[in-house]
């Protein structure tokens, strides 16, 4: 009789011990039970822990993650806060988890497409559908992130940067403006992706409607003065001219004059910035208007800035000059070295043209003069920039090689053109082969 009672007592003790193990170490439970125990266990005595309710170390299991993890990411945010995670770190955790989820879904999307075999091109229709579905997944991820992390604060640096971009707005307006821009960017991207690069009239109407709606929402959110300030700060012109302003230190008066002059001609100057032409006639008209606008812009800028500053502004727009200034700064050369090197380049262009059109010289004499000019310029550039910087710069100066081989170089805002002397010295005509190549580095 004693044995059964002893067995029963021992069994009861084992029951209590095993239950205690699961209560105090929910990680040892299967997944389905783990959540329940973690939520109900001593580690979490309230349904929604407040930031100030830091659980005592003795009551929180050593496995921190297992005591806070949950499928409900909003609850996870609250729990992480309760354990002292700063907002920045909470943001990193949630973004990582959402990224994992997103990548799983994208992988599943790729797997759901029929396997055509690596030797076959994708079906355009299916490929477009897949891209559209991926975009929707991205949009959903952004929405979830916003919903879950909405209560978190950004660092002060974030709002400082935003104020430079948006103007002096409250943090609440900045957050709402961020959401507005994200939403409209997604809609714009989805519309453009669906066109596959072929924009039809209905697409133009849709994009124009989106633009109108965005303007209306901006006007509803911002005061007229705030909106005007926002428009200046976010003008595509400011972005386009940012490299120029990096080397051309404009006063506020000069900046506004330059911006206003560009804005008055903006549509003609940048005809392809929003939508491609709708027809060949449209393309021709835009091209002609652009040429006229560029000429008009030069006149107005010269008037607004004066000859000296206009010349400096024009030079600052040159990508090659910007690169020279950057190169000089990186190698601790004085800024004047960049200006001198740029002037040598211009003088080479002028002199090569003069030699090319000099009727007093025959072809062999022109060729010799051009070669001498190029070699002299090469030596002068090396002397101006120093051996190391000079060598780096001369690698980019492919136009020097052209002149050395008997070519003429002309630098223009839209690129560089070359003309070559004829190969046959007996030919009386100068060469007419031209090649235009952008001087900007390719990406």
């Amino acid at each position: 009789m004693k044995k059964p009672f002893a067995l029963f007592a021992a069994s009861l003790v084992a029951n209590v011990a095993l239950v205690a193990v699961f209560v105090f170490h929910p990680a040892l439970a299967p997944p389905g039970l783990r959540d329940f125990l973690a939520h109900r266990g001593p580690a979490d005595s309230s349904a929604t822990p407040t930031p100030s309710a830091t659980p005592s170390p003795a009551s929180v299991p050593a496995h921190l993650w297992f005591s806070v993890q949950t499928e409900d990411l909003k609850t996870l945010v609250a729990r992480l806060r309760a354990t002292g995670f700063p907002d920045r770190a909470i943001r990193a955790v949630i973004q990582a988890l959402l990224k994992d989820r997103h990548e799983s879904l994208v992988d599943a999307l790729h797997r759901s497409h029929p396997a055509l075999g690596f030797w076959r091109a994708s079906d355009p229709l299916l490929e477009r559908k897949r891209r559209s579905d991926e975009q929707q997944l991205s949009a959903e991820r952004t929405r979830l992130e916003r919903e879950i992390l909405g209560s978190l604060k950004f660092d002060d640096d974030y709002y400082t940067d935003r104020r430079r971009q948006y103007g002096e707005l409250t943090t609440e307006k900045i957050d709402r403006l961020d959401r507005l821009n994200t939403d409209y960017n997604e809609l714009d991207l989805a519309t453009r992706t669906a066109t596959n690069g072929i924009i039809l009239p209905e697409d133009r109407e849709k994009l124009a409607r989106l633009e109108r709606e965005k303007r209306a929402d901006l006007a509803a959110l911002l005061s007229p003065a705030e909106l005007a300030d926002y428009d200046i700060r976010n003008s595509p012109l400011v972005s386009r001219l940012s490299s120029t302003f990096g080397v051309f230190r404009a006063t506020e008066e000069e900046f506004r004059a330059i911006l206003q002059t560009h804005q008055s001609l903006e549509d003609a100057l940048y005809p392809y910035s929003r939508l491609p032409p709708s027809s060949d006639e449209d393309r021709t008209a835009r091209s002609n208007a652009q040429a006229d606008a560029e000429a008009e812009l030069d006149i107005r800028l010269r008037t607004a800035l004066g000859d000296q500053r206009y010349a400096e502004f024009t030079r600052a727009q040159s990508r090659e000059y910007q690169n020279l200034v950057g190169l000089a700064a990186r190698t601790n050369l004085p800024p004047q070295a960049a200006i001198d090197a740029y002037n040598l380049r211009d003088r080479l262009s002028q002199e090569s043209n003069r030699i090319f059109y000099d009727d007093a010289l025959d072809i062999p004499q022109k060729r010799a003069a051009l070669a001498t000019l190029a070699q002299t310029t090469r030596a002068q550039l090396a002397a101006t920039l120093g051996p190391t910087t000079g060598e780096t710069y001369l690698k980019t100066a492919t136009w020097l090689g052209q002149v050395e081989r008997g070519g003429v170089v002309t630098f223009r805002a839209n690129g560089t053109s070359f003309r070559g002397l004829p190969a046959n010295p007996g030919g009386g005509r100068t060469g007419s082969s031209t090649a235009t190549s952008p001087l900007t580095p390719s990406r």
Binding site: L33, P124, S242, F245, S287, N288
Partner: protein, 409 residues
């Protein structure tokens, strides 16, 4: 049955059930994220260590002490992707303070003057960016690549490659992309010659990593020759073996005569000889492709190799028209282009007569293409692949100082 017996049986059964749960819990593993981690981490473990480490709050993790932070994060059972995110965040936080030093004059700086626009500041920030990147790589180790979308893309393209091999390829590709970017940032013109040199070095390094069979599979799935070949064969049915054979032929040609041929700097006689050699090799390649595909399929291949054909295909697809419309429009284009070329090359004909004949062809072009694509389709086609239509426009005698085109700012 006596109540005592029932109680005893119940208690024993409960013990059995609890033991079963304990076994099930240890078998299901320690990682239980709310979302699955798609890539098994190669080095960052997700198992928590023993309870001997007392880590119950953020401050216990000593986040400012980067040296052992990864181990402490692992100890509290965080998923590998979260560990990586927190490590990166901590490094960036530490560098943010240094970066903020460049923004001290922010209140006085006008909004159009970015901090990096000053060349000295830009150079210093670039050095700081590089240092930050190296710090992140140091703290993450090989797992740094797991969060790069380029790695995810490679993984999908190379499903039969091990994660380690893909990581190694990704490392090489990224290294060369950074070299190219450094050249660009230094203002060095990344022209054809520089690009080719970097590409050759990169390809050689990848080739050194793979067996010959693996290299072929890599090229077949990611190489330029294979990608271009796939596009040209989009409307041609080929077997896998045929594709492999064609790829070998194309790759051999590209290796010899690809972009590496920069003929501009060669003396004239060498340039001519090189062009002749290339031309002969191209003819030979064409014959080999024709032999592989046969006459009919080769005709389809040739058509698809024409860039304007794929442009027409995109327009037809966008308009939702039947695929056979592409061939119909292409046939119209071929017919009218040939007739227009005949007119344009007839220099015996006065300019006005040539223009008049071209105008007739232009009207016919608009009529026939519109019948196939619709009016909106005609406009879309003329802008996307139908550039030849512009050559049908009347030519004027060039005046002195003629109007130039836009500068394309």
């Amino acid at each position: 049955m006596k109540p005592f017996t029932i109680l005893l049986a119940g208690s024993i059964a409960a013990n059995a059930a609890l033991l079963a749960l304990l076994i099930a819990g240890s078998v299901s593993g320690k990682t239980s994220n709310s979302v699955p981690s798609p890539v098994p981490s190669s080095t960052v473990a997700t198992k928590s260590t023993s309870a001997a480490i007392s880590l119950t709050s953020w401050s216990d993790l000593r986040p400012d002490d980067l040296a052992g932070l990864a181990a402490r994060l692992r100890a509290v059972g965080l998923p590998s992707s979260v560990i990586r995110a927190l490590l990166v965040d901590q490094v960036r936080t530490q560098f943010a303070a240094r970066r903020a030093a460049f923004n001290r004059d922010a209140p006085s700086r006008r909004f159009w003057e970015k901090a990096a626009s000053d060349p000295q500041t830009a150079a210093a920030l670039a050095r700081l960016d590089k240092e930050e990147k190296q710090a992140i790589e140091a703290v993450l180790g090989p797992d740094a690549a797991l969060d790069d979308p380029a790695f995810a893309s490679l993984r999908r393209q190379l499903p039969d490659f091990s994660t380690e091999k893909i990581l190694a390829i990704h490392r090489i590709q990224r290294s060369y992309a950074e070299k190219s970017q450094e050249l660009f940032s230094a203002g060095v013109f990344v022209g054809i010659e520089n690009r080719d040199t970097l590409e050759k070095e990169r390809n050689a390094e990848i080739a050194g990593l793979l067996t010959p069979e693996e290299l072929e599979e890599f090229d077949l799935r990611t190489g330029n020759a294979a990608n271009n070949l796939r596009n040209r064969l989009a409307s041609v049915t080929v077997t896998e073996q045929e594709f492999r054979a064609l790829h070998r032929l194309q790759q051999a040609f590209d290796d010899q005569y690809g972009r590496s041929l920069n003929m501009i700097d060669l003396p004239a006689d060498q340039r001519s000889a090189m062009m002749r050699q290339r031309s002969d090799a191209q003819r030979q390649l064409t014959e080999q492709i024709k032999n592989t595909l046969g006459e009919q399929r080769y005709a389809d291949y040739q058509r698809a190799s024409d860039g304007s054909y794929s442009s027409i295909s995109r327009v037809v697809d966008r308009l939702g028209l039947p695929p056979e419309t592409t061939n119909q429009v292409y046939a119209v284009q071929q017919d009218l282009q040939q007739r227009a070329n005949t007119v344009q090359s007839n220099r015996a004909l006065p300019l006005d007569d040539r223009n008049a004949q071209l105008a007739v062809i232009a009207t016919e072009a608009q009529s026939r293409v519109t019948a196939l694509l619709g009016p909106n389709g005609y406009d879309a086609y003329s802008l996307n692949g139908g550039f030849w239509l512009r050559q049908l426009q009347p030519r004027a005698a060039t005046p002195a100082g003629g109007r130039g085109g836009g500068s394309g700012r």
